[in-house]
């Protein structure tokens, strides 16, 4: 095998076409849901019925745009570029199609289960356990297909884009499996095996790295392939791309705890998160500079080339959000930005600007190649770009001002030393105009996407009927080490020597396995150092003796809180700041979370924090407020939940739920488990009677609302009990 003979390769383009179509289709669905959510925030009457309220639609939106839109875009990019960079067809068509249809089936099941309220409530990991298993299986199919292709490759050097794909594939697998560890309590119900601050740490290790390894590394890989193609010149600095890659992979994995500043997480962990986040700024900008400089001498092409426009603005947004992210991870900035719309502005400059624009740039570049025809309308593609850009700008400007406004109002004190805006809803009312601007910005972006969809369909329609796979001639690989263990020792040694002689520089890329192991090592070090100490000191989380498990009814109420997605608007984590303590009460303690499977700290305060809500209002107030928040608080933006007053409370699996909690270490006795249903009924009757006594409606004893009220009235009351009882202490002091 020494002469360079040529070989014929047929790339599988069909699978790429399908992934491209799926990207556009799910992009339209996911962003339509986004526009509906924006409208619901500005105008609560848009929460229609039981299944389409904000809390249930929000995870549908995030999952659809991340895993359906961005996911399919990533797969289109990987399937197109990997084959070409490695000069070989994908390893196995059946694996490719299993991947495609499996992934679409997962998306459809998400679109059905999330509005039904079937959720684990951990952000971007909401899907229930059977779907989680399906995700793991499909991901493994993808991985096998990818690594098998890597093994079959004819190009010796593994181009940097492939490195990014490898990092994506292995890391996403690890993140997904660890964060999804849960114990089923029925076909569509499960509880996280982690509790409280542990669960929070794992979740944000996952959540942050989902951003890193689902929305950043694969898109950088995509950029390193498609940008040089579109600009028709090699990447500005290949060396920079290597440094950029490794530092990104090593640094990103540590940054997760910056989502948990000033919470019940140890100081060192959040400081670590902060330091690494700030360091991340450098490799991120390395990537941005590398991308933008790739266009050196090609800037004039930008005038009428929509593809390059999308790429340039996309990369610029990448630079903006990777500057802003490290800034927001600085504790003092975070103190202001956390829980506000500032975060929403940040993620949308990343999602709409970086992910969306890079994906559309790629799609506009691919359309003519894949369907072997000119794009239907260049003008429309340019219009998509402009309308999208204006949409993003309106969106983020509105959300920045909303975020900063609310953050400042929350912490404002008047000259007498009292909160300037003690009534939370005062701060909400201020934001409504900006929420309308967001609706407008979102609509513009969405219209742009629709134009893209029309352009795609029209391009496809005018393509020549039969589309053959691209066929190319490539040099046969003469570099493949032909190491065989032969019976002759000399032969074996000779072939080994030949294999190593081919250059130590390229040894690393010559060994995808070694490379993958290094990547795994890189990300594992960060993960282990971050997570293991926390788990090791589990016994050290000071248990507060007055903190006891929820009653059976309260647990059911908590599950309703999870089902309705209240966590999408309400935090349950009071930070140790003067204004928060003043507003909500004593700050949250880690010991209060020991039975919280999963944790419900939340990440956004559209409504007030609920950690110390218990006993603040009478039962009847809650009944009326849940039935129609405008009846107790006229300017409220909260959705109405009248169905909670009419749906019958299902206590059929209460016993199983307590049993599963007990398996996770929540101290329920055998009797408590066995009597779960009866105890819950008794408490429900008590609450219903009190509602009547307070002048409320009759007949609520077997309705869902009593369970929710039981839960809400319990929130944060445990540590108050200690003031009465001498037996309890906070421990640890």
């Amino acid at each position: 095998m020494t002469t360079t003979s040529m070989q014929t390769v047929r790339y599988d383009d069909r699978i790429v076409r399908w992934f491209v179509c799926a990207t556009v289709l799910w992009g339209i669905v996911g962003m339509l849901v986004g526009v509906i959510l924006a409208l619901q925030m500005a105008w609560p009457a848009a929460n229609i019925g039981e299944y389409l309220t904000f809390g249930r639609l929000r995870p549908l939106h995030t999952n659809a745009v991340i895993f359906a839109f961005a996911g399919n875009a990533i797969f289109a990019a990987v399937y197109y570029s990997t084959q070409r960079l490695l000069k070989t067809r994908m390893a196995h068509g059946a694996l490719s199609w299993t991947h495609f249809w499996g992934w679409q089936a997962i998306i459809v099941s998400a679109a059905i289960t999330l509005p039904l309220g079937l959720t684990q409530s951990k952000e971007y990991a909401e899907l229930e356990w059977p779907i989680d298993i399906a995700i793991a299986v499909v991901w493994v199919v993808f991985a096998v297909n990818f690594f098998w292709t890597l093994k079959k490759r004819r190009e010796k050097h593994i181009y940097v884009a492939i490195w990014f794909y490898i990092a994506t594939i292995v890391t996403v697998a690890i993140l997904h499996i660890v964060n999804s560890l849960a114990i089923p309590a029925g076909l569509f119900k499960s509880y996280s095996v982690f509790a409280g601050s542990h669960d929070a740490l794992i979740q944000w290790w996952y959540g942050h790295n989902a951003v890193a390894f689902f929305l950043t590394t694969p898109f950088l890989g995509l950029m390193y392939y498609f940008l040089p193609k579109a600009a028709n010149r090699p990447v500005f600095s290949y060396k920079l791309s290597i440094v950029h890659f490794w530092s990104l992979v090593f640094l990103y994995i540590w940054a997760g705890p910056h989502h948990l500043h000033y919470t019940a997480l140890p100081e060192w962990a959040t400081t670590l998160g902060m330091v690494f986040s700030v360091m991340l700024w450098m490799p991120s900008w390395g990537g941005m500079i590398n991308g933008l400089f790739t266009l050196r001498g090609a800037w004039h092409k930008l005038r009428d080339d929509a593809v390059l426009k999308f790429f340039v603005v996309g990369i610029t947004f990448y630079g903006m959000s990777t500057f802003e992210g490290p800034m927001m991870s600085i504790k003092s900035v975070n103190a202001l930005s956390h829980y506000t719309d500032w975060t929403i502005a940040h993620v949308h400059s990343g999602a709409l600007g970086w992910n969306g624009f890079i994906a559309f740039g790629m799609i506009y570049w691919l359309l003519p190649k894949l369907w072997k025809t000119e794009i239907w309308s260049k003008g429309m593609a340019n219009l998509h770009f402009w309308i999208g850009t204006i949409g993003i700008l309106l969106y983020i400007v509105a959300m920045y001002s909303a975020g900063v406004t609310q953050g400042l109002m929350w912490r404002a004190f008047d000259e007498t030393g009292r909160l300037a805006y003690p009534d939370f809803v005062e701060t909400v009312v201020q934001l409504v105009p900006m929420y309308w601007v967001r609706v407008l910005g979102g609509c513009l972006y969405f219209i742009g996407v629709l134009l893209g969809g029309v352009n795609m369909v029209m391009t496809v329609l005018k393509s020549p009927g039969r589309l053959e796979d691209t066929e190319v001639q490539v040099p046969a690989p003469d570099w493949k080490p032909d190491v065989r263990i032969s019976s002759n020792i000399d032969d074996t040694l000779n072939s080994l020597e030949a294999a190593t002689k081919s250059g130590r520089h390229r040894l690393l890329e010559g060994w995808p396995l070694v490379f993958t192991v290094l990547t795994v090592a890189g990300i594992s070090i960060g993960s282990v150092v971050e997570i293991v100490p926390m788990l090791l000191v589990r016994s050290n989380v000071p248990t507060i003796r007055s903190v006891t498990p929820y009653t059976a009814l309260e647990l059911e109420g908590r599950d309703l809180y999870i089902r309705e997605g209240c966590v999408g608007c309400h935090s349950q984590m009071i930070r140790p700041f003067r204004d928060e303590i003043e507003r909500y009460g004593e700050y949250s303690k880690p010991g209060e979370g020991v039975y919280e499977h999963p944790f419900l700290w939340g990440s956004k305060r559209t409504g007030p924090d609920l950690a110390r809500l218990g006993t603040k209002y009478p039962h009847l107030w809650h009944v009326r407020h849940m039935e129609d928040p405008r009846s107790t608080t006229p300017p409220s933006l909260m959705p109405a939940y009248p169905h909670l007053l009419s749906n019958t409370l299902d206590l059929g699996s209460t016993q199983t739920k307590l049993d599963r909690m007990a398996m996770l270490g929540v101290p329920y006795s055998i009797e408590e488990i066995n009597d779960a249903e009866a105890t819950a009924r008794a408490q429900a009757n008590e609450i219903a009677d009190e509602v009547v006594a307070q002048g409320g409606p009759d007949g609520l004893a077997d309705k869902e609302i009593v369970a929710l009220v039981a839960y809400l009235q319990r929130l944060g009351t445990d540590i108050k009990k200690r003031e009465g009882g001498a037996s309890a202490d906070l421990g640890g002091q």
């Binding site: 960079l85 440094v243 066929e471 520089h505 100490p533 050290n540 002091q733």
Partner: protein, 56 residues
């Protein structure tokens, strides 16, 4: 109090391990890049541009 507890548990060592691991890895990558000849780098950078040239 939780914070104080974690502070005294001697866990900062873990953060130091992390930092050292990162620095070692970073040094290795930089060394690798410096060893790359300009030709190797430009050959690698051209891979995405080559793939269509060989089309029949």
């Amino acid at each position: 109090m939780f914070r104080e507890l974690m502070q005294t548990a001697g866990l900062q060592m873990w953060a130091e391990i992390g930092l050292v691991a990162f620095c070692v890895a970073f040094g290795a990558v930089v060394a690798y890049v410096l060893h790359m000849t300009p030709k190797e780098a430009s050959d690698a950078a051209r891979i995405p541009l080559e793939d269509e040239e060989v089309t029949r």
